[in-house]
Structures are given as C-alpha cells and as structure tokens.
C-alpha cells in the first residue's frame, strides 16, 4: 500500500461541487501532474492533499497512513504556492529554514542546511538577502528550497511556473524534474500548461468539470486521448466528423478510412469523430486517384517557420493541420487541391 492514494474524494463548497468522486493511486517517488483548465478542481484536489481543505467525502492516504483528518502542520508535506508566499519579514536563509526553526533545530544545523539548499538551488551566497530583493526566478527557487528543507514525504506545487517569464519557465521545468528525480520525492504539480505537464510528469491526471477524465503517462494521453476534450487539451488535434462503418473503419465524406483505435465505444452507423495529430498526417499534391486512407481538400495557408512547415487544409469545411519537416515538403501552394494521408495507426475514433 505504498504511495499516494486518493479514494472517493469529493469536495463541495455549498452547492458547488469542486471535486467529484476522485479515485487515484500513485507509486511513491512519482511525479504527477494535475492538468486542466481553470476551475476544473485541480487546485482544490491539491489543497486537500496538503490538508488546506477538508474533503466532503473520501479518504487520502500516504504509504497506508490515513491523512484525511490530520491537520496541515502535522502532515509531512512541502508546498510551493502560486504566489510563492515567501515571508517578507524574514531573510532568504530564514525563509528556507523556517520549518526547522518551528521544529526546534539548532541555529548551526539551520545555517548548514540553508547553505546546502542554496547551493542545490544554485543561489549560493544569497542567504542574507531580503525577499523583496529577489527576481521572480530566484523567489521560486527559494520557495522550492523552503518546501524541501525537512525532506518531506510529499512535495506539492500549485501552478509553480505561472509567475515566471515564458523563457524561464522551460528551463525551470527541466530543472524541477531533474531535482525531483534526484531526490526521488513523490511530487504533485498542478498546471494548466500541457507542455509543462508533458515535460515533467510520470503520470498526468487530466481534469475537467470537477472530475478526473483520464490518467496515464504523457505519451499514453497524447497518443490515446479518451475523448475530444482531452484530445483538445493535450497537444493540437484534427477532428473530422465521420460515420462508423465497422469496428475499425469510418467514412469521412466520400472517403473510407481504416482506423487504428476505436475509443468511441459505439457500433457501425454511429456518428463519431476521426482524430489525428498534425505531425502524423501528410499532405500530397492531388494526382488523379486518391490514395488509401486519405481525405481530399484545398490548401488555405502555409506557415513555414524553418524547422517545421505547417499546412492548413480545408476538407469539406473542416480544417486539417499537417506539420511536416522540410524533407517531406510536398511542394504545394495555397489554393492547390491536395490529399491528406492519414495512416491507419494515426487514426483514432472518438465519441462525437
């Protein structure tokens, strides 16, 4: 029974249900991302793990120990807040060792640990600074160091990158992931940024409207989204209305396509959506006969940004995007009639 276990957890604020019947189980040492749009309940779920909110129903346990009704300050957690919540009246080193001061560690222990953590977070010598003298990136590092000072069992981060500049964000994501792997600490990150989740997570929990929609590794969720909401939230996707003609085949307009995966859970005749990822479909100049597993359309826009080329194709009023590398360049221009090849393995059927 090791790891973090969330069973039947529901949180209601008055008549509003913020989190509904969430059941999750994570192995200790994993990095988990709660991903979803704002208001989907991901922060509330994180706050319940921290103990800052009481679940209306359900239990939360870690390594078999029930935490549901343990007060915040008695849970062995470290948390990084969206605003960082650094104490303005304390120096950087005093912030970092605040938890140690509360637990009564000696001054020399605290000083040693502060130096160690500042080195680990690549902030050597900043211990005596005031919080107001730090940059956004430095504040975040101090917040992380403060949360990790006593080696907590669970490390929680609420939208940790949202207060950072875009270019700093990516570097911090990689750094945070490396740090987490080095320490082997069970970590839960709340984010609405899919790239952030894909970069850092062992497990992604996609949430929407108070519920968990899908759980899985980043690639599982990217390759096999459970519905159009998840597909739209993780990466970009092409969605074409289609009709099921068999378990693994659909008709889109006049074209018959074989599909690799049917997740609609419906039988032949049902209206469904055909989903493909932009980098898995290929645009070819139309040459009389339509190849197998392809739809036809007209090029409406070409965006060449050097490393990749994006081609927007209008297929019967629906937009299909194809992202190609320069070596696959089909030599088409805006207004050309084209075929868009959708290999069987790239095609997925989702409920409409």
């Amino acid at each position: 029974m090791s790891g973090l276990k969330i069973e039947g957890v529901t949180k209601k604020f008055g008549s509003l249900t913020a989190v509904e019947d969430v059941n999750l189980h994570f192995t200790a040492g994993e990095m988990i991302c709660f991903l979803g749009p704002s208001g989907c309940g991901k922060t509330t779920l994180l706050r319940m793990i921290a103990g800052l909110e009481d679940p209306t129903n359900g239990t939360i346990s870690f390594d078999g120990q029930d935490l549901t009704h343990v007060p915040v300050h008695q849970r062995d957690i470290g948390m990084v807040f969206q605003s960082f919540a650094l104490f303005p009246h304390l120096s950087v080193a005093e912030n970092i060792t605040y938890a140690m001061r509360i637990r009564g560690h000696s001054r020399s222990d605290r000083e040693d640990r502060a130096t160690e953590l500042l080195d680990m977070m690549r902030l050597p010598g900043l211990g005596d600074r005031r919080i107001s003298q730090l940059s956004g990136g430095q504040k975040q590092r101090v917040a992380i160091a403060r949360a990790l000072a006593l080696n907590p069992k669970i490390f929680l981060l609420d939208e940790p990158m949202s207060a950072l500049d875009a270019n700093l964000r990516e570097a911090m994501q990689i750094e945070l992931r490396k740090l987490q792997q080095e320490l082997g600490i069970t970590t839960v990150v709340v984010t609405h940024d899919q790239t952030e989740a894909m970069t850092m997570a062992d497990e992604i929990v996609v949430m929407g409207r108070a519920k968990v929609l899908q759980t899985g590794s980043p690639m599982e969720i990217y390759k096999k989204p459970i519905d159009r909401f998840v597909a739209g939230f993780i990466g970009s996707s092409n969605l074409l209305p289609a009709t099921l003609t068999g378990d693994n085949s659909v008709r889109v307009g006049a074209a018959e396509l074989r599909v690799g995966e049917n997740r609609a859970g419906q039988g032949a005749g049902a209206d469904v959506l055909l989903m493909t990822r932009p980098e898995e479909v290929f645009v070819r100049a139309a040459k009389g006969d339509t190849p197998a597993n392809a739809v036809t359309g007209t090029v409406t826009f070409i965006r060449d940004i050097g490393a990749t080329i994006e081609i927007l194709v209008d297929c019967d009023g629906h937009e299909v995007v194809s992202v190609l590398t320069p070596k696959d360049w089909p030599d088409v221009k805006v207004g050309d009639a084209v075929t868009v090849e959708m290999p069987e393995s790239a095609c997925m059927v989702l409920a409409a």
């Binding site: 103990g51 800052l52 300050h73 470290g78 807040f81 919540a85 104490f87 001061r101 929680l156």
Partner: protein, 280 residues
Amino acid sequence: MQQGSGLTRTLALIPSSVMIGIFFLVPFVLIVLTSFSVEMDNGDYELGFSLAHFERFATWFYIERALFSAGLCALIAILSLLIAYPFTWFLTNFGPRTQTLWLIYILAQLSLSEVLIAFSWQILLSRTAGIANILVWVGLAEESFAMTPSAGAVLAALVYLAVPFSVLLLYPALSRLDKSLTEASRTLGASPLRTFFTVVIPVTRPAIISSGVTIFVLTLGAIIVPQVLGQPQHWTLSVLITDQAIFNFNMPFASALAVVLLVISGSVIFAVTKLTGAKA
C-alpha cells in the same frame, strides 16, 4: 500619471494648502508665540520672548504630570492593541458579510462622544448602580463599593474609547494579509498559534506600530475622562491645559504646556517611525 504637468499639480494643491494654512498653521503659530509671551505690569501679556512659562513647567509637578500622561497613554495604546488585534484577526477570517456588519457596528461606536462614555462609565463603576452590585450578588464582595474615581477607571474608559479606533486602524493591514502566507506557514509545520506569532504579527508589524502611535496621540488629548473618572492625581497634561486656559485664564502657560504636549507627541512619532523605518 493622472497628474498633468507640474503647474496643474501646483494649482490643484492650492485650495487644500490654503485650508491647512489658515486652519492649522495659523493657530499653531499663535500658540507657539503665546507660549513665549512676556507678562506686563498690569498682569496682561504681550508678544515677546520669555521662557518664564517653560520654566514654570520645569518643576517636578508638571514633569511628573507629563510622564504620567505619556505612561498612561502608552499603556492604553498597548492594552487596546492587545484587545483589538486578535479580534481584528479573527474578524478577517470571517465572510465578507460578517466583516461588513462588524465594521458598521464599530464605526457606530465612534459616534459616541467622550462625554457620554465618561458618564456611562461613572455610572457603571458607581457604588449605587455599578458592577460592584453584581459582585455582591454573586458573593464576591460583602457590600457594594465605588470603583471611581481611580486610575483604573480612567484606564478602562480610555481603553474602551480607543479599541474601536484600533480595530479600524488594524483592519486594512490584516484584511490585506496574503492568506497564502499563513497557509505556507501551516504546511511548514507551524500550528495556527505559532503561525499567528511567527507570521501574522511580524508581517503586520508596521500597522501595529502606526495604530499604537495613533492611539497614543489620540488619548493624550482626552480631557473629559480623566476629570470625570479620576482624581486630580490622575489628570493628564491635557486636563491641566484646559484648566489653565479656561479657569485660570493663563493662556501663555496653557500654550507652553500645549507646546510641551506637542513635543512629546512629535518625538514619539519621530522615534517610532525612525525605529521601524530602519527595519521595515
């Protein structure tokens, strides 16, 4: 940004400057001038430079009064903060509706005049109708007694007067306190009580100090409560100023005492801002 050029800004300042000049600066200058005035043979005074009135202050009686006043008002500031601070902190943790209702109620308290409060406390602490009767009733006292006039009565009534001000002065800082700071403290292992002492109080320290100074200066000017609820040895400098000005018609000496009072208030404000400015 919304202020235009330097000229418009100067023009905009003129009405308020004139008001402050006429209604505050002129009387202030008059008081200072009067405090240095010279006594003539007929007993009247004329403008001049004489330190006679300040020399009269520099006797143990008045110095003792000044120290007593400062000490009393400092104690009142501390006591009212001790009452108001925890109350305001708990208040900010309630919903906005509850907070508004309480604030309206407290604002209403400010409309009670010092006179009304002084006489109400006189009744409350009297022998015939006061709370001593309750002590007799529950068996804690043999027979009813008067608790006024006494230093305790002056203190109680002035604290009563100061608490609503303290709450209103502390409220903005406490309600703006970032709740994630206290949550962060909780996640770092501090109980609610330790969070209160190690985060809430230190972070709002500037507000605590400025409220304390305001209460100090405010109660330093109280003249009714010490007279109604205290004996002459509980009278503050403000009472003596009134006494000199109204009953002895000694305006120069009253002015000199007022200048001393002003210097005391001024140095307390200066010392406190200096002390906190260095740290905050």
